[in-house]
Symmetry: C2
Subunit: 409 residues, 2 copies
Amino acid sequence: VINAGKSQHNEDQACCEVVFVERRPSLRGRLPSREGSGELDGGRKGFYFHYWALFDGHAGSGAAVMASKRLHLHICEQLRDLVDILQDPSPPPICLPHDARAGPTEPSRVPLTEDDGDVPNDAVPRFHLEKAVSHESLVIGAIENAFKHMVPQIERERVSQRLSGGCCALAAVYLMGKFYVANAGDSRAIIIRNGEIIPMSREFTPETERQRLHRRFVPPAFLRPELLGKEFTHLEFPRRIQPKELGRKMLYRDQSMNGWAYKKIEEDDLKFPLIYGEGKKARVMATIGVTRGLGDHDLKVFSSNIHIKPFLSCFPEVRVYDLTQYEHCPDDVLVLGTDGLWDVTNDKEVAGVVMEVLTSYEPNDPCRYTMVAQELVVRSRGVLKERGWRLANDKLGSGDDISVFVIPL
Amino acid sequence: VINAGKSQHNEDQACCEVVFVERRPSLRGRLPSREGSGELDGGRKGFYFHYWALFDGHAGSGAAVMASKRLHLHICEQLRDLVDILQDPSPPPICLPHDARAGPTEPSRVPLTEDDGDVPNDAVPRFHLEKAVSHESLVIGAIENAFKHMVPQIERERVSQRLSGGCCALAAVYLMGKFYVANAGDSRAIIIRNGEIIPMSREFTPETERQRLHRRFVPPAFLRPELLGKEFTHLEFPRRIQPKELGRKMLYRDQSMNGWAYKKIEEDDLKFPLIYGEGKKARVMATIGVTRGLGDHDLKVFSSNIHIKPFLSCFPEVRVYDLTQYEHCPDDVLVLGTDGLWDVTNDKEVAGVVMEVLTSYEPNDPCRYTMVAQELVVRSRGVLKERGWRLANDKLGSGDDISVFVIPL
């Protein structure tokens, strides 16, 4: 991690943990796992997951610091009910027993006790319409809910803990042979395997989320005009409109359109657009440049009483990479980086640095991955010259905080 | 087209037209096109587009009949303002002149009259933030708006014209070297080029639109509970819940989740799910199996006062295929079909029939494409045997209306 000067203090935070998920006592014995498996850590039933995460804070580091200390604990909490289910090769039961606290260890997996009588037994699907749910989608659901549970916690504790600002979150969970990469915001993860680049996330920005943002609040904003204030229009125009242009026809599109059409400019169209600007400068209500993440409970449009939070989403997109499906060599890595990295160094350049640095170390030298991460940060920061910090190609270096994980596969 | 017996009368409708788009008089002379171009049809300024469309009706053929007679006229209407702009190779102007009716023919393209004074001149972009809008996206916008304008028309005329039901719509517009394929519903278009299958649409069903349907009405349904009635839950469960299962933990997901998690079943969870069923049997509020299209203004949930229309979308997804980018041979075709075709004959089988039939005719025989379409319909209907209509593989033939266009590229 490096602070490159945009903010006085570093607003990026990182976390790397091995987390033990202990089976919740209430479920003990109800759904026994296969013999011996899951019996870890001195008799405690559970499993481990490996965890790496980056939190790119804005308007203060409070939310980023808190998320870096808590998110993996929420993931752990969500997984605790799943300890036996995830270790059982049969499909997850759709319905769990009535009172998980009731029985002692049972000899075999019976989802229902006998006194449940005519409640349908999941072992014999009696409904024709029954969706198959995979183990993988349970882990995805657990990670999604962990993000969701961070929200009220930050909201509650932001006063007592003096938590300021918000943050993007990018988390990688390694569990039972699979990487789950969860992204909410504009950080990015890629896998570099045998020189090939495999995207493991996509960025959520005002531009990529145009339709979600507009749909989310039309018609709700129509019903709840206080959300948008009287300040914003949900229509998109290719540029700001001048009052003198009233009555002329201008290109526009609404929340449902992908194409463009002309409309006659009316008073209402002169309002500020919900989304304005392009690329790194795109903003929701002229205020925030990312649309997913944690925190931002106090964020308002400048000199107004319009809250931004309802427009933001805490939900990550989770992508899965199954390590068991491929052969990997010591040079295959997962790279996590905040936008401080990706703004100035693209996927291909990152892959180039990875190759270059790794080949200069012995394959069994454990330092080699750390050296790649350092090199990526240093190169993206650049060198201080007379005309500011410059990259090797003489372009301006990143002025943003830069954080990188390089994780061998 | 064939009616295969599901409904007494054919509810599929088709349309195939060459449409002349005449420049709207009000714009005449304002944005003159290049010399000579667009001077067609005995001096009238304009251009032609070619048009094919399929409308798969449900609960009556009224909406399908009306859409088949009108949609291309709405597309024409939307394109009339664009006659000069689309024929001008320079990027579309972001803002049109103040009063398009004002001037006579002008010698050169001047978007603003002189008395507009200090209104910004589009020839010199004075805003740094100005989006580039392509000609292609104007055509997409025109088609999107044509679909949108069908809605109030059907709503208005449904009483006097006795229009019943709703319909899916799939339309292909060939204009200036490009195919625009617009789809709202569960019909499908594919291009078969040199034996390769190129999807030109995707289906909109309760399953593919799960997140849109849920997001669309949470929180609005929360604010407007009359939309969902007291009958439905926005949560998804892998199967229906039995009252006896109250208090047990069941797999669920909400509108934001892609994964699944367990929750304790409460009273509210016993309500009927907004989306229920899988595949061809999936329904929105137990009522309708498609989520986009036209009509359905009177559709209500069975024995209730809950309207379905607010959950449906009229907006098509428009995909573009640029004919000028590829070499085409006489066997390369665009196939449009209603779900009566695709339910029993997959993309690969369709491509096989196309190859098989086309090779049995001379390349310059104009009947060969019609013969392919007929063969596709007949094969999907099957042959009447003792145990009903059977396909070549002895599976049941399609009982739905089957409509197919085969269009040489």
